[in-house]
């Protein structure tokens, strides 16, 4: 028997903390430095500057400033809250009919209902103007029937646009929840004599409650932080991100106003983030068993579902139909169709490609930055687990902080940063701002790789570096392709931070759409929108390819 010598606890602790320096340590350090420089510092700077500006108090703020902030915050909360409510109310039945009922063509509906998500909200806003503006198609129809005109420049138009645009987000989140309800739960309910309605209300809805709440929070956040639709539609109705943007760009407003509004947005974002993190833990239920989905077979439900899905899909696609028609039209003010059809708008774009070229150049720089960051952090989270949870909070911030605010932070932190004539601040802003999206796809890719496979490699004597490149990386390639595509389509449609940073000569396609729409060049704005939608649709198609199967096929052919 060996003599019993218990090593002191400190020895064990030292072994655990002892930094195992390997090449990844440097990658983590670089990723950390990037996050610190381009997210933490800019956001922190806004908060600190606000504190100083308030403390100095050279002159008191305008009287009534407090009420003003309260009003625009309430306005934003009202629009976002109402949007969330209606979107979930629409998304829930859509999800039920396409996941749980044998609705005819439900596969097609599932694809179509996800499509609007890839386009930016300001295109939807633009479409709302085409539909319901003073000379809109629907407005004319309403007038002909003798109904009163709808005034869309304000909360009504804004909410309508956001509902049309964000319902797919609510739909997808709820549908994901419905898909993981194990069939056994509903079968048990049915075997106990529970009817469809009772099972849905008593068993299914409580089961997916976290997903429903999550859908509401996601829609709320997206609507709350959007600046594109308010720019075109808000009219005199003041909302927080738009006010932050205009006060930053205006010389007439007190310099402190934009700072205070930005800080206020950041504080609200932290609050929402806390709620969201909690919900995320509940929605990411990983079943160890494979789940079947229970299907309700009643014939009536099927046709009810078909009708509902058809109507909803038609409604959600109406904006895009109008934009496509308008892009081929000359003037569209008095008829149900444009006065004449023409290709001039596209010819104009072809001869003025600068905006699209700018967008492509900036996205091509921003995407690898974003993807590289996402995969470095994904690996870091995998290696450090709960010890890196605080960092996880940090990198989710760009999801909840409006783009305008991130733009302000970066412009203040790095004014005139333009090495080699390229305004690198834009791709950097994009990479940080779209990181949460990329990170989500990347971590999903990592989590599909069984950890014991990496352990097997280590046990065989391979270094962590070799293990990553020989064992982990080949399995990550499908996730890399998907992450790149998601990052690209999110980056090329970014508007908030672009508006703030926008260096001369670097107008992007989204800014051009906004500019043409505001200046009344409706045909041109439509045509660029169509081109942009085509680009993101292509990107999205690439994101949804089954890469693992594709690679397998290529390999067997070689």
């Amino acid at each position: 028997m060996p003599t019993l010598r218990v090593a002191p606890v400190e020895a064990g602790l030292k072994a655990a903390i002892k930094p195992r320096l390997n090449p990844f340590s440097f990658i983590y350090a670089a990723a950390g430095a990037y996050i610190a420089a381009f997210l933490v510092l800019p956001v922190g700077r806004i908060l600190v500057e606000t504190a100083f500006a308030l403390a100095e108090a050279e002159a008191p703020l305008e009287p009534g400033f407090g009420e003003y902030v309260a009003r625009i915050t309430l306005n934003s909360v009202f629009v976002a809250g109402f949007t969330a409510l209606v979107s979930v109310a629409l998304g829930l039945p859509l999800a039920f009919f396409t996941v749980k009922v044998m609705t005819p063509a439900r596969g097609l509906f599932r694809v179509l209902l996800a499509l609007p998500l890839i386009t930016p909200p300001f295109i939807s806003a633009f479409a709302t103007i085409l539909l319901l503006g003073r000379t809109g198609v629907l407005t004319q129809l309403l007038v002909r029937i003798g109904l009163p005109e709808v005034y869309i420049y304000g909360p009504a138009g804004l909410t309508l646009t956001h509902v049309l645009h964000f319902t797919p987000l609510a739909y997808l989140t709820v549908a994901a929840g419905l898909q993981v309800v194990p069939a056994a739960v509903e079968e048990a309910a049915a075997s106990l004599g529970s009817g469809t309605a009772r099972t849905l209300v008593r068993v299914v809805l409580p089961y997916i409650r976290p997903h429903i709440l999550m859908a509401a929070v996601l829609v709320f956040l997206a609507s709350f932080g959007d600046v594109g639709a308010p720019l075109l539609l808000a009219g005199d109705f003041r909302v927080l991100p738009l006010e932050t943007y205009t006060s930053f760009n205006s010389f007439q407003v007190d310099r402190r106003v934009s700072l205070i509004l930005a800080s206020w947005s950041i504080l609200l974002a932290f609050l929402v983030l806390l709620i969201m993190k909690r919900l995320m833990a509940q929605t990411q239920v990983a079943h160890t068993f494979t789940t079947r989905t229970f299907v309700y077979r009643a014939r009536l439900l099927r046709w009810l579902g078909f009708g509902f899905c058809l109507a909803a899909t038609g409604l959600l696609f109406l904006p895009y139909v109008v934009i496509v028609i308008s892009s081929f039209g000359t003037v569209w003010t008095t008829g149900l169709l444009p006065a004449a059809f023409t290709l001039r708008n596209y010819q104009f774009i072809l001869t003025n490609l600068q905006d699209i070229k700018n967008s492509l150049v900036l996205s091509t720089i921003g995407t690898p930055l974003c993807v590289g960051l996402a995969f470095s952090l994904g690996k870091l989270f995998r290696d450090y687990g709960p010890r890196a949870a605080w960092l996880d909070y940090l990198v989710l911030l760009p999801f909840v902080i409006p783009g305008v605010v991130i733009g302000i932070g970066l412009v203040k932190g790095y004014p005139g940063f333009q090495p080699l004539g390229i305004p690198l601040l834009l791709p950097i802003a994009y990479s940080v701002r779209r990181l949460p999206y990329a990170l989500r796809v990347a971590t999903a890719g990592y989590s599909r790789i069984d950890r014991t496979i990496e352990e097997a490699s280590l046990a065989l004597g391979a270094s962590p570096w070799r293990t990553f490149w020989r064992v982990t990386w080949p399995q990550l390639i499908p996730a890399l392709a998907a992450t790149s595509a998601v990052a690209f389509i999110r980056i090329i449609t970014e508007l908030g931070s672009t508006l703030i940073i926008l260096p001369p000569g670097w107008r992007t396609a989204p800014v051009a759409i906004f500019y043409y729409a505001a200046e009344g060049f409706i045909g041109r704005a439509s045509a660029i929108s169509v081109v942009l939608i085509a680009i993101v649709a292509l990107g999205s198609a690439l994101a949804n390819l089954d890469y693992s199967r594709l690679i397998g096929r290529l390999k067997t052919r070689l």
Partner: protein, 358 residues
């Protein structure tokens, strides 16, 4: 071939103690099994030995060398995982060759050794297959070949058979034992299946809640369990409480069961008269007798019966016993089911009674 020594090994995760002050040594070339219910710390112990976890306290030695601070890739252990962990993007050949490549072995030598390893586990001819073209049993063999080809000092197996069906489990465990005997490699095997542990091991360590209950050969473990927990965990047994009446070293020990008769057991460990003990009675220790007057006889009513094929197992509700006595009778007669509810006298073989201080 290397001995493995654990001294005061402790692993805590937050407030839970997964492995609690574990001390044991595995000899060179020994087939050593860590056995216990789920959550007893056996897998954590194995992962500590492999280097995937860092010990909170204690020492792990391979031979003379303390390996606590050695990262897993420098420990030269072969490990087989419960879910095989075969690299999905590599062929069978590439999987097995991987560890050799890491060691700088190339060309003909690499090929020769990979093919030899595949031959050893019975996978010759499948080297260009991809993992998704293999069955569970074949994947398990790939994992085994991959672990063995690097000629590790120590082979670690983490529940390697638990994902296979019963027939395959029995045949692969035979093969693992055969290969281990041929290579004389120090092997540490983790399982929760006690039959598997008894079948393949030289020695077995029973763990419970992170603590070591007993280390012994399979025979000793079954016949002379060191604690109430081991008696209950290994095989079937009725475990009762009692007080020692008399004890003759190397002779018999008489124990008065609480509320029951006095039972005579063959001496297996020192106890003092008057001492409180637990008593374990194996089902096969009981055989029917005509009269209750003979020695070591328990009588009662048959309260439950089940047919197992080679035997009938039942429960005897004996007067004064805290729990029913399990019995097993081989080669049951045609009218075995008529025993149900009848009273029966059963004599207990003192050889198959174990006891120990509470």
């Amino acid at each position: 071939m290397t001995a493995v020594v654990l001294e005061g090994l402790t692993k805590r995760f937050g407030n839970t103690v997964a492995v609690d002050n574990l001390t044991l040594s595995v000899s060179e070339g020994e087939f050593f099994t860590l056995l216990g219910p789920s959550g007893c710390g056996k897998t954590t112990t194995l992962r500590l030995i492999a280097g995937f976890e860092t010990a909170t306290a204690g020492i792990i030695r391979f031979g003379q060398r303390v390996v606590n601070d050695l990262p897993p890739q420098r420990r030269s252990v072969g490990m087989v995982f419960q879910n095989y962990a075969v690299f999905p993007t590599m062929t069978v050949f590439e999987n097995v060759a991987y560890g050799l490549e890491v060691r700088g072995i190339q060309g003909k030598e690499l090929r020769r050794r990979v093919l030899a390893a595949l031959e050893l586990v019975g996978l010759a001819g499948l080297e260009s297959r991809r993992p998704d073209q293999l069955s569970g049993g074949q994947l398990q063999r790939v994992a085994l070949a991959r672990a063995l080809v690097i000629e590790p000092q120590i082979l670690l197996l983490d529940e390697p058979l638990s994902n296979l069906d019963v027939q395959l489990r029995v045949s692969i465990r035979k093969e693992i034992r055969r290969i281990q005997q041929a290579l004389k490699i120090t092997t540490i095997y983790v399982t929760h299946d006690q039959e598997e542990a008894l079948a393949v091991s030289d020695r077995v360590a029973v763990l419970n809640a992170g603590r070591l209950e007993q280390v012994a050969s399979p025979f000793e473990l079954y016949r002379f369990p060191a604690s109430r927990f081991v008696a209950r965990f290994i095989g079937w047994a009725t475990v009762l409480s009692g007080r020692v009446v008399s004890a003759q070293p190397t002779g018999y020990v008489a124990i008065k069961l609480d509320g029951g008769p006095v039972l005579r057991a063959t001496w297996c460990r020192p106890v003092e008269p008057g001492q409180r003990v637990w008593v374990s009675v194996r089902p096969e220790a009981l055989s029917p007798v005509e009269s209750s007057q003979a020695e070591n006889v328990v009588s009662g009513e048959v309260s439950y019966l089940e047919f197992l094929g080679p035997a009938v197992r039942g429960e005897l509700k004996a007067e004064g016993f805290a729990e029913p006595l399990l019995f097993e009778l081989e080669r049951p007669p045609r009218d075995w089911s008529s025993w149900a509810g009848k009273s029966l006298c059963l004599q207990v073989d003192p050889e198959l009674i174990a006891y120990g201080p509470e």
